[in-house]
């Protein structure tokens, strides 16, 4: 039984607009590190945002642990989102808040409005946040504001925030695009280690094919919203890459 099963997913942003995704199908298993590759404009970001409905799909099904995501009501969707951690290209942290509050915000789905108002998180949440900050090697930065941190450190905060949800799956939207090559590799390794340690499958947008083949066991290649390749990393060869990135080769 796959954790996530996406069938014939289609999306367009406006009623008469072009289809951004033209029927995408794939499955993510329990121990997958699943990469979505493709040139910019291929629909990678849209695809990953459809999974937790930050973007509403037009048709198709998304089944996440026996829940049909596309049919959930607002409150059901919020409950489903608690189980899906997300890590972003630009980190998407709250800059005027501290490292702790940013990590703790991963627990908002489990926190009442009154506690949210006064930012008074449970003791167990604070303990878990400190534990995760230790895991991502930010123990020395607990009391800082996130705008004092470097790019790599900010992304570690983002990773800790996502893990704070005790997610059953992680979505990663170009987690390394804003980082230099060395830090990118460090971040990918950290995510992979964390995912293995906590037993969380990952679905990761990434335009850097080298990183994708190094860290991911399965790959789906998109071009203009169409699947050009889907399968284990070993099967991705030069010809298939050319098909995905045809426009860029010319």
């Amino acid at each position: 039984m796959p954790i996530l099963s996406v069938q014939e997913l289609q999306t367009r942003y406006t009623d008469n607009g072009p289809d951004i995704l033209k029927g995408i199908t794939f499955e993510v298993e329990k121990d997958d590190f699943f990469a979505i590759i493709g040139p910019s404009g291929a629909g990678k970001s849209t695809l990953i945002r459809c999974i937790n409905r930050l973007v509403e799909p037009t048709s198709g099904t998304i089944i996440f642990i026996e829940r049909e995501i596309t049919k959930l009501s607002k409150s059901q969707l919020r409950r489903a989102r608690r189980d899906i951690g997300m890590i972003f290209q630009e980190f998407n942290l709250i800059n005027r808040m501290g490292v702790m509050d940013n990590v703790l915000s991963g627990r908002l789905g489990y926190t009442g409005n009154l506690r949210t108002l006064f930012r008074s998180f449970r003791r167990s949440d604070i303990d878990q946040a400190l534990f995760l900050l230790e895991k991502v090697e930010l123990s020395d930065h607990v009391h800082k504001r996130v705008d004092e941190l470097s790019g790599g450190q900010r992304q570690r905060v983002g990773i800790a925030r996502a893990l704070m949800q005790n997610p059953k799956m992680l979505l990663l939207d170009e987690p390394t695009s804003a980082l230099d090559p060395k830090i990118s590799r460090d971040i990918m390794r950290l995510v992979k280690n964390m995912a293995e340690e906590f037993g969380v499958p990952c679905l990761c947008n990434i335009h850097d094919v080298a990183l994708a083949t190094e860290f991911c066991n399965k790959i789906i290649g998109l071009k203009e919203g169409v699947t050009m390749f889907s399968g284990p990393t070993e099967q991705l060869d030069r010809n298939k890459l050319n098909a995905i990135y045809a426009m860029e080769e010319l």
Partner: protein, 273 residues
């Protein structure tokens, strides 16, 4: 030959356009002068009590009456001055409370029921700002009677427009990426407001509130003219008793507290932004 002809045609067009511009400019100036003349006739020439103004020397004498300070009055001014500051403080605070729903409804990206709530909020902002504080005060003095309370409500209602408009615009201009991230954790609408939106706009909103408070000191200083407490009331009394030096004292006092408020607001806002 062909080219020559074309240039001729273009030249005529250019001359026509320049002539037209001159005619528009000329008639515009003429209309402006006519309206001015009409205004001067209606408001200055016919509406001024020339008899009472007297000669130029009389006018100077009228101004002269205000030169001089009634020092004995200052001890009696401290309480109304404090009252003026308190009217401004309470009025601004209550105004901020009134603002909260207006901001929520009036920021396009968070307004709860789309266009309807947005328009209601915008309408309230416009009403608040287009009614003058003196008019608000007259209204509330009629409702709650003479005294500071009317002034407080006048200031509060007059403040909603500006604070809400600036705050709603700040919310419309936020970075939407943290919003997306907080939504992705499974947070509800209120939690998104509290964690992703409020931290981004709070310094701006506090700055706007401080600025409005500073303006409200000015406003509450004159509200006494219509019986809504504070320094204005003393000002009115001095005028009525022809104590012109006392009027000057009150004006100095008003200037003093306005400067005080301005310095305080400036210092706080500089630390915020």
């Amino acid at each position: 030959m062909e080219l020559h002809h074309q240039i001729q045609q273009q030249a005529e067009q250019v001359i026509f356009l320049r002539k037209r511009r001159k005619i528009i400019l000329g008639s515009g100036t003429l209309i402006f002068l006519l309206i001015s003349a009409w205004c001067i006739n209606a408001t200055v020439i016919q509406d001024t009590d020339w008899q009472r103004m007297g000669s130029f020397a009389d006018m100077l004498r009228s101004i002269g009456r205000y030169i001089g300070i009634d020092f004995s009055l200052f001890s009696q001014l401290l309480e109304p001055a404090l009252e003026t500051l308190l009217i401004a403080f309470l009025g601004t605070s209550i105004g901020v409370l009134f603002c909260l729903p207006v901001i929520w409804f009036g920021a396009r990206n968070i307004t709860p029921v789309g266009n309807a709530s947005y328009l209601v909020a915008r309408l309230m902002m416009t009403i608040s700002r287009s009614v003058h504080e003196i008019v608000w005060a007259l209204f509330f003095v009629a409702v709650v009677g003479l005294g500071a309370m009317g002034g407080i409500f006048a200031v509060a209602f007059r403040s909603v427009g500006f604070i809400a408009k600036m705050s709603a615009e700040a919310i419309e201009n936020i970075d939407s990426r943290p919003v997306e991230a907080i939504q992705a954790t499974g947070a509800g609408t209120f939690q998104v407001l509290r964690f992703a939106i409020l931290p981004q706009v709070l310094p701006q909103i506090i700055s706007v509130i401080m600025f409005e408070w500073e303006i409200n000191i000015r406003r509450s200083a004159v509200l006494g003219l219509v019986g809504a407490g504070g320094l204005g009331l003393v000002f009115f009394r001095q005028m009525n008793t022809f104590n012109y030096h006392g009027v000057t004292s009150v004006i100095i006092m008003i200037l003093g507290i306005i400067l005080l408020g301005e310095m305080a607001s400036h210092a706080i806002r500089r630390r915020l932004l």
